[in-house]
Subunit: 127 residues, 6 copies
């Protein structure tokens, strides 16, 4: 996968998810997942995350809500990191998850609260 | 259902969903749905929508995302009205739905785009 | 579709959903949906609703919860009728939906509360 | 929305969903839904439905399964028409829905069976 | 988190999920999850699980169904323990999961059957 | 559990999921899961996977789509093995998952892409 073919996507992804995430992404691209990686790079990162109509901080909060509603905890962990990089505070993340408790149910929010605790703990250990 | 027992909830609901919505809500409360209405009033409106940690405009965008992910179109229509009242622009709503297209799939976003078109059309007719 | 081939299923279905529901079911069976109708008759009615390990009243409450979680409102309406026939009270149905509000989210429960209101209203008009 | 900008997408869409669907799609594009329509046209039609690795007939059956699992009945109706155009038989569609009954539950399949009945009935009336 | 502020909730939770669960819950409460824990304590435990209109044994069976439909296996494990404490038999739990197989699909039920096997095995080892 | 009682189901399961899977299935049947195993054997394997109206290769692709939409990754791994045994190519599996990206969202497809990578890697190590 050639980063030059997806320049705008790679730049947005690096800004949101960090350099290490992008390096792993390139290293893990292979024959089987290449088309999926390219699709994600083009539509998700090159397109959505670069659109000017909504700031990235709000997009991160929206994403935390969506990933909670759909219960994609692995992806959520990655986007919690993106949320912090995009300037979301711990309190704003907590508030989105409280809102999810009411709109998606307590177990949905509870799963994401647990993932967020794990993320914040590992981050504080590493910092 | 006595509005005096849920003052904070009623105030938040009226500010977000409007006076007519609250009047209908009270008029439609009966023996069967009273406990549910009280729970929604306390939990949703008295609690979540009054919390200071996240502004109501962002909560509206988060709600549009959640209701799209879970495909609750009736509730979405009500919250599109709340979003406009909370200061969201048509462009911000569109951007959230585009983000949903990538994270929840094109049909999920398509349903909500159709609901939003209906809402905006009926609003323009009424204004 | 020959009721004699699915005797146990037809009996359970008639006991739970009523004679009219079964007559419509037979009348609406055609080349396209026959295998689906047979599968539902065998699997759902002949098997699950005839199992002795759980009383039908509890099965009805469980079904109301499942159909709320999955947001199948058309099917829910049919099973609200079954629940009443199986001896569930309006209060027990309300309690299951309140429990859904906390475990599946307020909009999920709200949809089913609205369906239940419609069902109870049409029933009282017909009675 | 200029069809010349999305030639491959428009061609695939017309081949699968028919000329009338494409004409309605263009006529219904407006300021609010333009970006969503463009994304769907590029991503869905220009990209996925034109990929050579899987024949369109199988893609149609996969889509019927996905739309049943997610309960998007409006979109399903459109794709039932696409499935017929892509060479799927009524029996193959029925078989996919029977498989959904076992893997997604009987109410999920029941909803789609009802939508398919409606679609086939309206089609036979029009033919 | 002060148990005196949520007395009714703590009592219900201890009766259903046991003393150890409550002690862990208090020990694991921190700045990030406090509001979520308080919300769960108030609405879930103080309110729903204390309501008189439905016995706790039936609530447990309803919860097993809901958590299966939504595939929250971690929460399910906790509520299997609550179900036993509320007087549900292994057979009643099995019956609810069989009903889920038909209404939510075989893989949904299969996941919960596996979680229940794990729970019953670990319980028998500990007893 | 007596394989002679479910001959057609056992044969289909062995043909699709392999001898080892069937041996484990029998060895893991116990008092708690027997009825569920019998139900799965009768409806899933004895019935659906033996129906003549749709070839097993297409059924496998449909199943990969359904399990992705519903996010049942454990079951998906088992059915990836079945898909290979039913003659699906790696490219066809990849194409179904790309289609899921558009119809169920990028995180849904991403989870299944990761599961497929794991499956293909472990398979190549074992071969």
């Amino acid at each position: 996968m050639n980063p030059n073919d997806f320049k705008e996507g790679f730049q947005a992804r690096e800004e949101v998810l960090g350099k290490e995430n992008v390096e792993n992404f390139i290293a893990n691209t292979n024959d089987f997942n290449r088309s999926f990686h390219e699709l994600a790079m083009k539509y998700c990162w090159g397109d959505i995350w670069n659109r000017p109509g909504l700031d990235r901080k709000t997009r991160s909060l929206v994403n935390i809500a969506l990933l909670t509603a759909l219960n994609y905890q692995h992806e959520l962990k990655i986007h919690l990191d993106g949320a912090i990089r995009n300037g979301c505070t711990k309190i704003e993340i907590e508030e989105v998850l409280l809102q999810c408790a009411v709109y998606c149910g307590v177990p949905a929010a509870g799963n994401s609260i647990a993932t967020a605790m794990e993320y914040f703990n590992s981050k504080e250990t590493n910092d």
